[in-house]
């Protein structure tokens, strides 16, 4: 495996390290982004939310071949039926590999999955427009051919960012502030892909060449850099008024990391519609709305979970889970007659969140 193993396969193996006792079928659904409340919860449980839908084009066959190859090498072993874990040689292999190659630590595929491409395209286009404008040139080919993006950027400039010197200065300041806060190698990689006056950005192949990486690793590297940049923008909107404006608007258009239907439910919830009414208005089953709430709670760490769990239920669940962390729903529902499953799930999510923040401190 070692000679032919790709970056992706090492990356996937590293996930077994991150999350012991991983079911391969679960992992496959997480990587390819099967958007169900249960896969999402599994991703949260296994600490793999950031890799949700990371590799949508990965086929089952490729994925299984990769698991088989790693098992043959003695890097991966089956513990119980369909549970796998890394062996000690496997751990060593993965560690050695990521000493020589970068590890994409900033990825947030669940949150930024749909946002990644359109936002980056708009940032590039806006940069090109202001760059050419600063040189007084009107004759150039937009680097992003997508007509809808071109139109969108024109509108955005009209409304929010007048094509004037002051805006150009602000844009330069924002790029600088962004790049200064990133690892230099990542900042350089993003910068070399920008197109503007007298500079045409590097293609995929040229980027890989300059970073001295195989194409696959380079793609992870760039994705990682973009997610790092997006996080910086999201968390420091005051530093990046222009980028934040692009970010927020593009994020809304791509449903803020949610599926369209869940996003719409979220909009109703923000206006305090009762769940039954949302179900009625949207012609959905109440159970589906509950699933939407679960997805909302998983994707958005600030989602106010306690608002959707009746107080008595909330106290009961916390108390029980304090005693037995992994207590199954079935046991609890025997004790509390009409315990709704989604409440059980929501409290689980709430506790997971707390664990995650505590362990990261």
């Amino acid at each position: 495996m070692s000679s032919r193993a790709t970056y992706l396969s090492y990356f996937i193996l590293s996930l077994f390290q991150r999350s012991p006792h991983l079911k391969t079928a679960q992992l496959y659904h997480i990587l390819t982004g099967k958007r169900t409340a249960s896969t999402l919860y599994q991703a949260l449980e296994k600490n793999l939310l950031n890799y949700f839908s990371l590799s949508e084009s990965l086929t089952r066959k490729e994925f299984e071949a990769l698991i088989v190859a790693a098992s043959r090498q003695g890097w991966l072993e089956r513990v119980e039926e369909s549970f796998y874990q890394l062996t000690s040689t496997g751990k060593q292999e993965v560690e050695t590999y990521f000493k020589e190659h970068h590890f994409p630590a900033h990825l947030q595929s669940l949150r930024y999955g749909n946002l990644t491409k359109p936002l980056w395209e708009r940032m590039q286009l806006v940069t090109q427009i202001f760059s050419e404008k600063s040189y007084g040139n009107r004759q150039y080919t937009p680097v992003i051919k997508n007509y809808a993006h071109q139109r969108w950027c024109k509108q955005w400039i009209k409304k929010f960012a007048p094509l004037e010197k002051d805006t150009t200065r602000q844009l330069v300041v924002e790029w600088k502030q962004l790049f200064e806060r990133m690892e230099p190698r990542m900042a350089n990689a993003l910068a070399m892909r920008l197109t503007g006056h007298g500079q045409i950005g590097a293609t995929h192949h040229q980027t890989a060449q300059r970073l001295n990486m195989e194409t696959e690793e380079m793609e992870f590297f760039i994705l990682n850099a973009l997610h790092a940049a997006y996080t910086l923008i999201e968390e420091n909107t005051a530093l990046f008024p222009l980028f934040a404006s692009l970010y927020t608007q593009t994020d809304k258009e791509t449903y803020e990391g949610l599926s369209e239907s869940v996003w719409i439910t979220g909009q109703y919830l923000q206006q305090d519609y009762p769940l039954e009414e949302i179900a009625q208005k949207r012609k959905l089953k109440l159970g589906t709305v509950h699933e939407h709430i679960i997805e909302l709670a998983i994707v958005n760490p600030h989602f106010p979970i306690e608002q959707y769990v009746p107080q008595s239920v909330w106290h009961f669940l916390h108390q029980e889970m304090e005693k037995t962390t992994d207590i199954p729903y079935k046991k609890l529902s025997e004790r509390m007659n009409d315990l709704p499953f989604y409440c059980y799930r929501l409290v689980q999510i709430e506790r997971k969140r707390k664990d995650a923040t505590e362990s990261s401190v």
Partner: protein
């Protein structure tokens, strides 16, 4: 007609003092009220022909154009030149935008549209209310089933033209045989006796032709040529995979800047590659026929065909991309026994089979079918334009035979010991002017490629790329 006004417009709108060959004849023919078929090689300023005529005539000029991406470029190109009254009408627009365009026809000077737009009666009805001074069909060879890029929807343009009351028409095409020119006129319902033809000679003296028969050493020969010859250049392949593999080899084994260009390259990279090539940052592009349309680079020094093209039209069009600056350039065709089968295979997959036809013809009239592939699409359009099943079948058989004949011609071009130029031009019914300066082709002078050796100082412009973000930012913005 005021001749002076024409020259004034040339200066005023295009900033030129003189016409390029063929432009003037085409414009004056149209301004004399004659429908005109204009055959000009690509990259010789076809657009000036209809734009200037349109300006002179005033009112609305309609331009039917087959390529959506090209249309966008044309519109933004004209806008950059200061023409605000130009718009496009095609499937890329939202319905609101389409409506806006149709509501503002009387304010427009130039309207680019895709052929299928003329199939909609609400579009035609709007256009009928607006005096159309000039009806332009760009890439008119797409009409011909015997031509290079047959587009069935072009067959319906004649009917649209009739409905619009036969407006003055200018059909523009690149390389096309007499037969194709004839078919353009018939399909557009142009009057064959009064329609003018302006055919600029397709021979380009400065492009020298070379063919070479390889024996299991094509890669080595290519490697040799791209290093030996003056750059930049294009290498054409008929397979994306071979283009990729060869590019990788060239990147690994030479110090040249090489990129690949084909349908699978991400859109963003396509733009970057084109722009870098225009900017002299790349030496060689390994491409499929997807590369070249709309790329107007003057100093391309060679075009090498790694695979034999399907027909002389394609070949002329592709080699015509080198030497637009008038300087000597080389067109090299590398052939290896067996290459013809690659083309045969590609062609077998490009025409509808009987079962495609049967499927389409068995469908009910009102049934709205969406074509699944180009073959079914062609079948659908035969039906739409009213061909009987038998006639459609006959047409397809004819086209098959015709394609074989074209391929066979290319094979003979490779093997002929006669003057390659004479041989190729004979296909387009064109004779070679007798006194050619300098070398001509590998038959006339087997060693002519010596003159094309790269002396390396004329193409030494690989700037070192900046890799530091702060320097990149500094250069990007002039503040």
């Amino acid at each position: 007609m005021q001749r002076n006004r024409v020259y004034e417009l040339l200066e005023e709108k295009f900033g030129h003092e003189t016409f390029r060959p063929g432009q003037e004849e085409a414009i004056f023919s149209a301004l004399n009220g004659k429908d005109t078929v204009v055959m000009l090689p690509t990259g010789t300023g076809k657009s000036v022909c209809y734009q200037l005529t349109g300006y002179y005539l005033g009112g609305l000029t309609l331009i039917v154009s087959p390529l959506l991406s090209l249309m966008q470029d044309q519109v933004s190109g004209m806008k950059r030149m200061g023409e605000k009254r130009v718009a496009a009408l095609n499937s890329l627009l939202t319905s609101g935008e389409k409506r806006w365009v149709l509501d503002h026809l009387h304010e427009l000077r130039f309207l680019f549209l895709s052929p299928e737009m003329l199939q909609y009666s609400h579009v035609l009805n709007r256009l009928k209310k607006c005096p159309i001074r000039l009806f332009v069909v760009d890439e008119a060879h797409c009409i011909s089933q015997w031509g290079l890029d047959f587009r069935p929807e072009y067959l319906l343009l004649g009917r649209a033209r009739e409905e619009l009351g036969f407006p003055l028409t200018m059909a523009l095409t690149a390389t096309a045989t007499k037969q194709v020119r004839g078919q353009i006129k018939r399909s557009l319902k142009m009057n064959e006796s009064t329609t003018q033809e302006v055919a600029y000679p397709i021979d380009r003296h400065n492009i020298k032709m070379h063919t070479e028969i390889c024996r299991n050493n094509k890669q080595e020969r290519l490697l040799h040529y791209v290093q030996y010859l003056k750059k930049p250049g294009i290498v054409y392949f008929s397979s994306k995979k071979t283009a990729d593999e060869t590019a990788r080899k060239l990147q690994a084994e030479t110090s040249l800047q090489v990129e690949t260009y084909h349908a699978d390259i991400p859109a963003e990279d396509k733009v970057k590659i084109q722009e870098q090539f225009l900017n002299d940052e790349l030496d060689v592009i390994c491409a499929t026929s997807a590369f070249g349309m709309g790329v107007n680079k003057q100093n391309i020094r060679f075009v090498i065909h790694y695979h034999m093209p399907a027909n002389p039209e394609a070949y002329m069009q592709e080699i015509g991309r080198c030497g637009r600056d008038g300087k000597e350039s080389a067109a090299i065709l590398l052939f290896e026994e067996g290459d013809q089968y690659i083309q045969m295979h590609l062609q077998e997959n490009s025409l509808p089979e009987e079962h495609h036809l049967m499927q389409v013809y068995a469908g009910k009239e009102h049934e709205k079918r969406i074509a699944e592939d180009t073959r079914e699409e062609i079948a659908l359009h035969y039906k739409k334009v009213g061909f009987s099943f038998e006639k459609a079948k006959e047409q397809i058989e004819y086209r098959k035979k015709f394609k074989w004949m074209q391929l066979d011609f290319m094979l003979r071009y490779v093997h002929t010991t006669q003057c390659k130029r004479k041989f190729l031009l004979a296909y387009f019914d064109e004779a070679v002017e007798s006194d050619q300066p300098g070398a001509c082709c590998s038959s006339c002078d087997p060693d002519f490629l010596k003159e094309f050796q790269d002396s390396s100082d004329d193409y030494l412009r690989h700037r070192k790329r900046d890799e530091n973000w702060s320097i990149i930012l500094e250069k990007l913005f002039h503040i």
